[in-house]
C-alpha cells in the first residue's frame, strides 16, 4: 500500500526536522565560528575535477553547490547526512560511511528494508536499489517537483531503468512479468499518465507502493490476492457499482480466495477498458484447438467444436475470459494457464450456493464422482435452461440427474437412504407425468424441489427438502395448499405437540406422488394416517367405510373425506369439518338427508372398549355368547349322533343284503318250480 498517511506523516516530520536543523544550525553558527560549514565542504567538492578512489577506480565526488542549494535538502548541512564527518579535520579521509537516510526518514527506510529491494540489498545484490538509486543524492527533489525522478510522470522511467526489457534485472533476476514498461505505457494507466499527462493516473508506485515493494505472493504485499482489491479501489472507489455481481458489497475483499481478483480479468500492466479483446483473440486459440485430433499429454481431447460454440450461451464470451491466465507474449499463450476454468468469476451467486451444496462439498473434498459445473451444463456448447436442447431444460432435467442418480449409477450406489428407483418413480408420479407426458415445463422437476445449485441431503437443516422446509418448498407451487396447511393441526405453526408432525411428503411421498383422487392414493391414505394414528385407523376398519376400503374400493369415506386434508383441525375447533357446526354437512356430502342423529354414528367404534362403548361391547359379547352356546349344543348333539348313525347304516346294509338274498332265493325257487 502506498500509505498516503505515511507520506504525509513523513513530510511533516521532514519539515519539522528541517526547521529544527535550521534553528540548531543558526545557533551553532553564532556560537561556534569554527564549525564545518557547507562552504568548507564546497571548497574542495565544488571543484569539478575532484575525484576519490573507490576500489582502485577514480570516481567524481563533485557536488554542485547550486544543485544542492536547489534540492529539497538545500537548507541542510552536509554533516547532517554525512554524520561521520562531524568534528573531523579537513580534508577528511575517504571513503565516507554510506549516508543513512533513516535518521530523518525512519519509516521509509524501514519499509524499504523489508521490501524486495531492501532484502536484495541485504543479500549484497549489486543490482539492488538504494534510496539514492531512485531519489538521487545531492540533487534530491520533492515528489511534487516535476524534475524529481519519483514524480508521477517520471516514476515509470525511474522504475523502468531496471524493469524494462533487456536490463540486468530483467535478464538475471526472477521477474515474472515481461515487457512491463511497454505494456504499461500502452495500458489505460500508462496512456493516461504518459499521453494525456494525468498525474493522478496510476504509475508503478500507485500499485506497488514506493518503498514497500513486495512479491505478489507475499500476503503483506499491496498486490497480493488479498490486497489487490483494496489497492485498486484506492482510486477506483466506486468500482462495485459496475462489478455488482462479482463484488457484491465487500465480498471481494472478504472472500478473495473464492472470488476473482481484479488482475484475473484486468491483467496487470496491460489493463484496458475492455480487457477481453485485448488479451487473446479467439481466433488465436482456434488455430490449434479447431484441430479435431488435438490431444493433451494425458490423452484427453483438446479439440473445440466450432458448431458447439455457435449455439452456445457463451458465444460472445472470449476463450480467455474463462480460460484465464493466458499470456500473449508466449508462443503458446495458453501454456501459462495453471488453473481450471472458474465459472465463479461471473456466476458468483450461483457459485456461492454450489460451494455449500452437497455436490460442491464433495468436489472440495476431491471426490472423483462430484459433479462440477460442466457435468450438468456442458462446456463450450453450454445453453441456457430455456433452450429445449439444453440438458438443464425442464423436460431434460430428470434425464440429467438420472445420469448419476438412477439405480445402479454412482450417486445411487453411495446413497444409503430409503428412496429407491427415484427416476422410475418420478416418471410415474404426477409430476413426472405432467412434465414428460403432458409436457408441462412448469411441473416440478428434480431441481424444482432440490434446487439446481444448492442441493443438500434432507438431514441438512439448510436443505429445501429438510422436514422443516418441505411445506415452503412445495408451497412454491402449491401456495394455496401451504396456506391451508399452516393453519392446520399438522403444521408446526398451529399444532402444539412434542411429537413429530407430518409434512407434505409424509402423506404424498417424495418421488411417487400420485393424484390425490386416484385409487392408489385413496387406499393408501389410511396407512399413511395410521402411521401416527394407529389405534384410530384400526377402529376405522371395523366400520363399513373401512371394510369396503379394505376390499380395495375407494367410494366409501376415507380419512380426509371427513377430517379434511390440508385444513385438518381438532374436532373441538369450530372450523373443523367435524365440529358440531359442520359435522352434519360433512356427513351429507355422501348421505343425503343425514340428520344430527345420523352424525351420531360412531365411525371409529370398537367393541373392545367397555368404558367408551358399553353398548357395543355388551352387544358383541352377548352375540358371541349366543353363538358359542348354540354351536356347543348343536356340535355336541351332532358328535354324539355320529356313532349311532354309523351303526344304523351298518344295520341297514345288512338288512338290504338279507332282503336281496331272500329275493334271489325266491326267484330261484320260482324258476325251479316252472321247470
Amino acid at each position: 500500500m502506498p500509505s498516503k498517511k505515511a507520506l504525509v506523516h513523513g513530510r511533516v516530520r521532514f519539515a519539522l526536522a528541517a526547521g529544527f536543523a535550521v534553528v540548531v544550525f543558526g545557533l551553532l553558527s553564532v556560537r561556534v565560528a569554527r564549525a564545518q560549514e557547507n562552504a568548507d565542504c564546497i571548497t574542495c567538492h565544488g571543484e569539478k575535477d575532484i575525484t576519490a578512489d573507490r576500489k582502485g577506480r577514480a570516481v567524481s565526488v563533485y557536488v554542485s553547490d547550486k544543485v544542492f542549494a536547489a534540492s529539497i535538502h538545500g537548507a541542510l548541512q552536509c554533516i547532517n547526512c554525512h554524520q561521520d564527518l562531524e568534528g573531523k579535520e579537513l580534508p577528511h579521509e575517504s571513503p565516507l560511511k554510506k549516508v543513512d537516510c533513516s535518521s530523518c526518514h525512519e519509516a521509509e527506510v524501514k519499509q524499504h528494508a523489508a521490501s524486495l529491494h531492501g532484502k536484495a540489498m541485504k543479500r549484497g545484490d549489486p543490482l539492488a536499489p538504494s534510496c539514492a538509486s531512485c531519489h538521487g543524492m545531492h540533487d534530491i527533489r520533492a515528489v511534487k517537483d516535476p524534475r524529481s525522478p519519483v514524480s508521477p510522470l517520471k516514476v515509470p522511467f525511474t522504475c523502468g531503468k531496471c524493469h524494462k526489457e533487456g536490463t540486468a534485472v530483467m535478464t538475471q533476476r526472477n521477474i515474472h512479468q515481461d515487457h512491463i514498461l511497454e505494456n504499461y505505457s500502452e495500458s489505460i494507466h500508462g496512456e493516461g499518465l504518459l499521453k494525456k499527462g494525468l498525474i493522478v493516473s496510476a504509475n508503478c508506485s500507485s500499485c506497488h507502493t514506493a518503498h514497500n515493494i513486495r512479491s505478489h505472493t507475499d500476503p503483506a504485499s499491496s498486490i497480493s490476492r488479498g490486497n489487490i482489491a483494496k489497492t485498486c479501489t484506492t482510486c477506483h472507489a466506486q468500482i462495485e457499482d459496475v462489478h455488482r455481481k462479482v463484488i457484491k458489497g465487500e465480498l471481494w475483499e472478504k472472500e478473495a480466495h473464492v472470488l476473482p481478483a481484479c488482475v484475473d480479468c484486468h491483467q496487470p500492466h496491460k489493463v484496458r477498458k475492455v480487457f477481453y479483446t485485448q488479451g487473446m483473440a479467439d481466433a488465436d486459440c482456434m488455430k490449434c484447438h479447431a484441430d479435431g485430433s488435438l490431444k493433451s499429454k494425458d490423452g484427453r481431447s483438446m479439440a473445440v467444436k466450432v458448431d458447439d460454440l455457435q449455439h452456445s450461451k457463451h458465444l460472445k464470451v472470449a476463450c480467455s475470459q474463462c480460460h484465464a491466465g493466458v499470456n500473449v507474449s508466449h508462443t503458446r499463450p495458453c501454456e501459462t494457464i495453471t488453473t481450471k476454468v472458474d465459472c465463479a468469476s461471473c456466476h458468483t451467486e450461483v457459485a456461492q450456493q454450489y460451494v455449500k451444496s452437497q455436490h460442491g462439498k464433495l468436489l472440495a473434498k476431491g471426490d472423483p464422482n462430484a459433479p462440477a459445473c460442466t457435468e450438468c451444463h456442458g462446456t463450450h456448447g453450454i445453453e441456457g435452461k430455456l433452450v429445449a436442447t439444453s440438458p438443464t431444460f425442464p423436460t431434460n432435467v430428470p434425464k440429467l440427474c438420472a445420469r448419476c442418480h438412477r439405480e445402479g449409477e454412482k450417486a445411487a450406489m453411495r446413497y444409503k437412504g430409503t428412496q429407491h428407483g427415484i427416476i422410475e418413480a418420478y416418471t410415474e408420479s404426477i409430476h413426472g407425468k405432467g412434465l414428460l407426458k403432458s409436457g408441462l415445463t412448469v411441473t416440478a422437476t428434480c431441481t424444482g424441489c432440490h434446487t439446481a445449485h444448492g442441493v443438500l441431503p434432507k438431514t441438512d437443516p439448510e436443505s429445501t427438502v429438510n422436514r422443516a422446509n418441505v411445506p415452503a418448498t412445495c408451497g412454491r407451487c402449491h401456495h394455496g395448499i401451504q396456506e391451508e396447511f399452516e393453519k392446520s393441526v399438522h403444521s408446526e405453526m398451529a399444532g402444539k405437540t412434542d411429537k413429530q408432525l407430518p409434512v407434505c411428503n409424509d402423506c404424498h411421498s417424495a418421488h411417487t406422488i400420485r393424484r390425490a383422487d386416484a385409487d392408489g392414493f385413496r387406499l393408501d391414505i389410511m396407512d399413511k394416517c395410521g402411521r401416527c394414528h394407529g389405534e384410530i385407523a384400526k377402529t376405522y376398519f371395523d366400520t363399513y367405510h373401512g371394510k369396503v376400503s379394505q376390499l380395495g374400493y375407494t367410494k366409501t369415506a376415507k380419512c380426509y373425506d371427513c377430517h379434511g386434508a390440508h385444513d385438518i383441525r381438532k374436532v373441538s375447533d369450530p372450523r373443523s369439518h367435524l365440529s358440531r357446526e359442520n359435522v352434519v354437512a360433512t356427513c351429507q356430502k355422501c348421505h343425503e338427508g343425514a340428520t344430527r342423529r345420523f352424525a351420531g354414528y360412531l365411525s371409529h367404534a370398537t367393541h373392545h372398549d367397555p368404558q367408551k362403548y358399553p353398548w357395543l361391547f355388551w352387544t358383541f359379547w352377548g352375540m358371541t355368547g349366543l353363538l358359542a352356546g348354540t354351536f356347543v349344543m348343536g356340535g355336541l348333539h351332532t358328535l354324539l349322533w355320529i356313532p349311532r348313525a354309523l351303526q344304523m347304516r351298518r344295520e341297514l346294509k345288512a338288512e338290504e343284503e338279507a332282503e336281496e338274498r331272500a329275493a334271489m332265493e325266491a326267484e330261484e325257487a320260482a324258476r325251479k318250480e316252472k321247470e
Binding site: 376390499l551 338427508g593 342423529r597 348343536g634 351332532t638 354324539l640 349322533w641
Partner: protein
C-alpha cells in the same frame, strides 16, 4: 327288485310350495352369506377376491339386498301358506294350527324325544319313535324365523341408516352392525354344519337325503324315520292318499347336482370362516 322299486310308491312329505320355498331359501341364503361375509372378513384376500368377482362392493351389495328381498318374499309366502293351511286344514282355527299334532311348535313330546335321543346316543335306550317333526327339525325351522327377524330388521337399518336415525340414535347403527354380522355368522355356521349333518348328510342316508327337494321318501325309510307318523296315518287310513310316484332318475340326478353344489358352496364358506377367524383374525 330294482324293477319293483322303481314303481314303488313313495310317501309325500313336502308340498310343492314347501320345496320351492326351500330351494329359493338356499339360493337367497347362500347369496346373502357369500356377499355378507366379504364385508365381515374384508381383511382376507378371499373376501377381496369374491367381492371383485361379484362386481365390486356395490355389485355384491346389490346381490345382498336382492337376496334379502327374496328372503322377505319367501317369508311372506310361507306366512300366507300357513294362513291358507289354517283355513283349509284346521277349519280356520289358529289354535288347531299351532297346537295340533303336526304343529311346528315345541311341545312336551319334543322334550321326551330329546331325552330319549340323548339316551339313545349314549346307548341307554332305544331310538325314540319320532313323529312328523323332530325337535331338531323344529329348531332349524324357528332358527330361520328368528334369523329373518333379527338379521332382517338390523339389515334394514344398515340399508336405510338415514331413515332409521330419524328415530334411533346414530350409535344404534353400530349396534345393528354387530348384531347383523354376528347373527349372520351364527346362521351361516349352523346351517352349513349342524343342519347339513342333521338332515342331509347323516351316514345312514348317504350320500344325501334329498327329501326336501323331491318332497317324497321311500316308504321303508318313512316307516323307519318317522314311525309314529306312519302308524298314525295307517291307523287313520290316510296313508294311501299321501303316496305318489317317484321322480324319474334324471330328475333325481338334477336335484342331486343342485344339492351338492349348494352343499359344496356352504362347506367352502365354512372353511373360509374358520380360516378368517382362526388364522387371519385381526
Amino acid at each position: 327288485m330294482e324293477g319293483t322299486r322303481r314303481y314303488a310308491l313313495q310317501y309325500q312329505r313336502f308340498t310343492r310350495l314347501n320345496r320351492a320355498l326351500h330351494i329359493t331359501m338356499i339360493v337367497s341364503f347362500i347369496s346373502l352369506a357369500l356377499t355378507g361375509m366379504t364385508l365381515k372378513f374384508s381383511y382376507t384376500s378371499w373376501a377381496s377376491f369374491i367381492a371383485h368377482r361379484l362386481g365390486g362392493y356395490e355389485g355384491a351389495g346389490f346381490i345382498h339386498r336382492s337376496a334379502a328381498v327374496l328372503m322377505f318374499g319367501l317369508f311372506v309366502t310361507h306366512i300366507w301358506d300357513l294362513n291358507r293351511k289354517r283355513r283349509e286344514e284346521h277349519g280356520g282355527s289358529i289354535l288347531s294350527l299351532v297346537f295340533g299334532p303336526d304343529s311346528m311348535l315345541f311341545n312336551r313330546r319334543d322334550l321326551t324325544e330329546l331325552i330319549g335321543t340323548l339316551k339313545w346316543f349314549v346307548g341307554a335306550g332305544p331310538r325314540p319313535r319320532y313323529g312328523r317333526w323332530t325337535y331338531w327339525e323344529k329348531f332349524d325351522y324357528f332358527a330361520v324365523f328368528w334369523g329373518i327377524f333379527v338379521i332382517g330388521s338390523t339389515g334394514l337399518m344398515l340399508w336405510f341408516p338415514v331413515f332409521f336415525t330419524r328415530l334411533l340414535p346414530g350409535w344404534f347403527i353400530n349396534v345393528a352392525t354387530i348384531i347383523h354380522s354376528d347373527e349372520a355368522l351364527l346362521a351361516t355356521g349352523f346351517i352349513f354344519t349342524v343342519h347339513f349333518f342333521n338332515t342331509h348328510l347323516r351316514p345312514e342316508k348317504f350320500p344325501m337325503d334329498t327329501v326336501v327337494f323331491t318332497g317324497r321318501m321311500p316308504l321303508a325309510e318313512f316307516k323307519r324315520d318317522k314311525p309314529a307318523e306312519y302308524e298314525a296315518l295307517v291307523a287313520a287310513g290316510k296313508l294311501e292318499e299321501n303316496l305318489v310316484e317317484p321322480y324319474q332318475p334324471v330328475v333325481i340326478r338334477g336335484i342331486r347336482a343342485f344339492a351338492w353344489t349348494a352343499l359344496g358352496i356352504g362347506t367352502l364358506i365354512v372353511f373360509w370362516i374358520v380360516y378368517a377367524m382362526v388364522f387371519a383374525y385381526r
